[in-house]
Amino acid sequence: MRYALLFIGLITFCVAGASAAPKENPVKAELLADMSAVVPGATFNVAVKFTIEPGWHIYWINPGDAGLPTTVKFSAPAGFKVEPLGYPTPIQFDQPGNVVGYGYTESLVIMAKVTAPADLKPGTAVDLSADAKWLVCKDVCIPGKAAVALQLKVDAKSEKANEALFADWSAKLPAEAGKTAVVTRTVKNEDHTISLKWQVPAKNIEVFTAPGNGWAISNVQIVNNGESAIHFTAKPLNKPAAAVEMPVVVAYDNADGQRRSIQLTEHLGEK
């Protein structure tokens, strides 16, 4: 049995290239681990690193007005446990014609936590792999996909690997609100307000919502007045719309000027 987890796959496949499109896909993908070897019973992280040519972008779980989500499906041998860690904090791109996109430029790292079975035999090897799919856009959009693999030795001990990369990108994953902010919510018909009483310095607040296909989020406003109040309108596209638990990512600059985020869940529709 193989573990095949992660982001619901929207399938992208390279159709005949557009005339204006470059021959090489502007995105390269590779599979990395944060350990040099697999220790029986130990937990480590793997990641697909996307390297994106300047000027191009790929997309978050909600691509915004256009595009497709980047997806990664990790695989490991039987007995391994694979837990995807979600999407890092995206950025917003504003394109002509009021077309708003959410995603990543330059690079993206999507990680999973892997736990090895305790009965692995030192001296053997472990094959890890991932299927990555994306749509990359600039003046044109190009679908891309890659099957990436990594072989690690099983050993009684291992060294850290790619330490800075995993540390940087772990910090970019949305965290629980926890001690960062006290969150209160009000909902009046279709109008939602999320109030955040920040417990840490937070500047340049941005909000990203992932409503799925049944709901439209509009009139997003953020009022910062010591506290932050996030207002938006959630309308079902067609009635009745299925209720959803919508991820809401609130990004901010911390005291050190680093971009960080917290993830909340907003209930849309009938309870």
Partner: protein, 204 residues
């Protein structure tokens, strides 16, 4: 008392100054279902002017088009979009493609129509004015216009957001669904969906 009031006013002004509005996307409301759609007059791939008002009394499908977009190619490489347009042409439905790509010309639209065997207009909206009036953000974005030129459907071509032709089978085609329901004298069951595709490559 006056001192107190002016101090209060100062505080209020200071409060306003610290109130900062950020992140205001999508200020334009999409076109409303059941309301009149904007008229337009554009040239087709042969330079012939086409206006929506010419087709009063007929159901019209508007298809936002860009031959370089993989989501558009998905519906043309295996001929699905042409098949759909031809099928409903038999019911007197007019099907018009509109290309709002900033680099589009009548010549490039003629080439696309020839390459993809499209026997229907591809209108040149390279300045993006009609796309803006329709709030079109994607290629493809689909609109079904009633005989009285009110909006019957707006959104995606079908229910599977992907660039792969193999996904067409097994997905719900919202345009076909709307046209079938209109033909049967019913109201459109899903008049609004979220369009998927490339962004319309608007002129700045």
């Amino acid at each position: 008392m006056r001192k107190f009031l002016s101090a209060f006013a100062l505080l209020a002004v200071a409060g306003l100054m610290f109130t900062q509005l950020a992140a205001k996307p999508a200020t334009l409301e999409p076109l409303a279902i059941g309301k009149a759609v904007p008229d337009f007059k554009l040239e087709d791939q042969n330079g012939k002017p086409v206006s929506l008002a010419d087709y009063k009394g007929k159901i019209v499908v508007l298809e936002w088009f860009n031959e370089d977009c993989p989501f558009v190619q998905k519906h043309y490489t295996a001929g699905h979009m042409n098949t759909l347009a031809q099928k409903y042409a038999a019911d007197d439905v007019v099907w018009i493609a509109i290309n709002s790509t900033k680099t589009a010309t009548n010549a490039s639209n003629l080439k696309a129509a020839t390459d993809w065997k499209m026997d229907r207009p591809i209108l040149n909206d390279s300045d993006g004015n009609v796309a803006r009036a329709y709030r079109s953000k994607n290629t493809p974005t689909m609109y079904v216009v009633n005989k009285d030129q009110t909006l019957a459907y707006r959104g995606a071509i079908d229910s599977k957001a992907s660039t792969e032709s193999a996904d067409i089978e097994g997905s719900t085609n919202y345009v076909a669904q709307a046209l079938d329901e209109l033909k049967a004298g019913k109201s459109v069951s899903e008049p609004e969906t979220k369009a998927y595709g490339c962004s319309v490559k608007y002129a700045e």
